[in-house]
Each structure stands twice: as structure tokens, then as C-alpha cells.
């Protein structure tokens, strides 16, 4: 019996990179909730994408890109543990990207990041910002 070689991250990245060029396409059927199909049709009518096919392909591609990037980031941190930004640093970056006034309060962000992990271990930078905004409004009340 011929066994398939184990798939590697390299295979995923190579295939995603192929999407940058106009490669061949295939037709495939996907079982999906009927309501999802109808919602997609409505969203396309409202301007989501040119057609349902483009919308579906883009959504799947976005998910795969995020997954692949996550794998790459985790591999990088495994090789270079000191490179991993702290939760507070990620939250600070999120605030700066969004033009959020909290960006000017790094001490508050650090405090929020420290406190939130006690009850939400998987908190994201955005979770920290919501929590920090709560701390600030409580302080000003």
C-alpha cells in the first residue's frame, strides 16, 4: 500500500502563493445550510461581491491565509521566543492602527492586559482595549 507523504506547512504556503496567479479552476459542490446560500445571494445583490462564487472563494481564502499566517508566526516564536509581543504590546498596536485615543494611555493598556488574562486567558488585543475603555469610564464616573 502506497502511503501519502505527510503534508507540511510548505505545501500550504506553496498552494496559497499559487493564488497570486490566474491558475486553473475546478468545480466543486459544497453542502451548506440553505439559509447561508440564500443569505449569500442577498448579500451579493446588496454589493458584497460581484457574484456568490467570488464571495465564497474570497472568504475561504481569507480563512486559509489567517491560518497559514498563524502557523508561520507560531513557528517564528518557537525559534525566537523573545520576538513574541506581549498582550499589552498587541493591544497598543491595535489602538494605534485604529486611531483609538487609548493609544495615548499605554499604562492603562498595560494594566488592562494584566487584569484581563485572569478571567480570559485567550484575550486578544481588542479584548484588552474594550476592558481598558471600561476601566477608564469607571475611573471617570
Amino acid at each position: 500500500v502506497k502511503r501519502r507523504p505527510p503534508l507540511r506547512d510548505e505545501d500550504l504556503f506553496a498552494l496559497l502563493d499559487e493564488l497570486e496567479t490566474d491558475g486553473p479552476t475546478v468545480v466543486s459542490s459544497v453542502r451548506q445550510p440553505a439559509a447561508l446560500k440564500k443569505a449569500l445571494r442577498v448579500a451579493v445583490e446588496l454589493g458584497l461581491d460581484a457574484n456568490a462564487n467570488d464571495a465564497t472563494v474570497q472568504a475561504v481564502r481569507d480563512r486559509l491565509e489567517a491560518f497559514a499566517q498563524r502557523r508561520a508566526l507560531d513557528a517564528h516564536y518557537a525559534a525566537h521566543p523573545g520576538a513574541r509581543p506581549s498582550l499589552a504590546e498587541v493591544a497598543q498596536a491595535a489602538a494605534e492602527l485604529d486611531g483609538d485615543p487609548l493609544a495615548g494611555e499605554p499604562a492603562l493598556i498595560r494594566r488592562a492586559a494584566k487584569e484581563i488574562v485572569a478571567f480570559r486567558p485567550g484575550a486578544t488585543g481588542d479584548d484588552v482595549l474594550v476592558y481598558a475603555a471600561g476601566l477608564r469610564s469607571r475611573a471617570s464616573a
Binding site: D17, E65, Q69, H76, P85, E89
Partner: protein, 143 residues
């Protein structure tokens, strides 16, 4: 609070910082990539990283080079090609401000992207000057 950024445009130093583990801003630039990844992976509006091709040339980022493999994978950055109309707009911005060719293409890429865009740069003075001339929501973030 402004709308969340949907696109992040890299300038040369952002690329340099990402590609060199010993760079003083390496960890900071990774924090921005974490935001992009967290938002894209949580079924929120996906964020996209863009790199104008002129930035790739300035940063000597050849995607085919084995040394670029890590940069390609971590960034998942999409190229912004420079066609005739983009070159015209970049030239117009450069003429109005006297900034470098690369900075003009960075600003043009941010302006042409869909949704609010953030430019990651160490050269905030020139790019903030450019940003005042751009249409749409473009913010400049110091690396």
C-alpha cells in the same frame, strides 16, 4: 474613535524590522501582525497587509530568494503593482510634497486600497504630509 483599519501598508523600515530578528523594532512590528491575524482569524472583517512593489525593491525583498521564505510566510503581504495610473498619481503626490519615489507609492497604495488604511512607517513626517493630500481614511502609524 475612527473605523478599524482594513489594510496595513508597509514601508521599507517595516519590512526591514520584520525580516531581521535583531532589529530594534522587530517585536513591535510583529505586534501589528498579531492584530491583523487575530482580527482576520476571528471572523471579523479580514485585514490585509499590502506592500507596494517599490518598497520591495528598496528593501531588496525578492520573494523567490530562500532567505525571504520567513518574511513571505509571516507577512502574507500582497503586492501592490505600479501601473500607469498609479504611477501618475504617485508622481502627482511627489511633485506636491517633494517626498521620495517610494514614499509616494506607499501613500498612493494606501489611498487606493478599499476601506481605512494604516501606513506603518518610521518616516512619519513625510508620510503625514502626504496623508493630508490623500482621499479616504489613511492614517500614519509610527513604527
Amino acid at each position: 474613535v475612527t473605523a478599524p483599519a482594513a489594510r496595513v501598508v508597509l514601508d521599507n523600515e517595516a519590512v526591514q524590522a520584520l525580516s531581521d530578528v535583531a532589529h530594534s523594532k522587530h517585536r513591535r512590528v510583529l505586534a501589528f501582525f498579531e492584530v491583523v491575524n487575530q482580527r482576520s482569524g476571528r471572523r471579523r472583517q479580514p485585514m490585509t497587509i499590502l506592500v507596494p512593489v517599490a518598497v520591495r525593491i528598496e528593501a531588496r525583498w525578492d520573494r523567490r530568494a530562500p532567505s525571504a521564505a520567513s518574511l513571505n510566510r509571516i507577512s502574507r503581504a500582497r503586492d501592490v503593482a505600479l501601473d500607469g495610473s498609479r504611477a501618475d498619481r504617485s508622481a502627482e503626490l511627489r511633485a506636491a510634497t517633494g517626498v521620495s519615489v517610494v514614499d509616494a507609492t506607499v501613500a498612493q497604495a494606501a489611498e487606493a486600497s478599499t476601506g481605512p488604511a494604516a501606513i506603518l512607517t518610521s518616516d512619519t513626517a513625510d508620510l503625514r504630509r502626504l496623508a493630508t493630500l490623500l482621499d479616504g481614511d489613511v492614517r500614519v502609524v509610527r513604527l
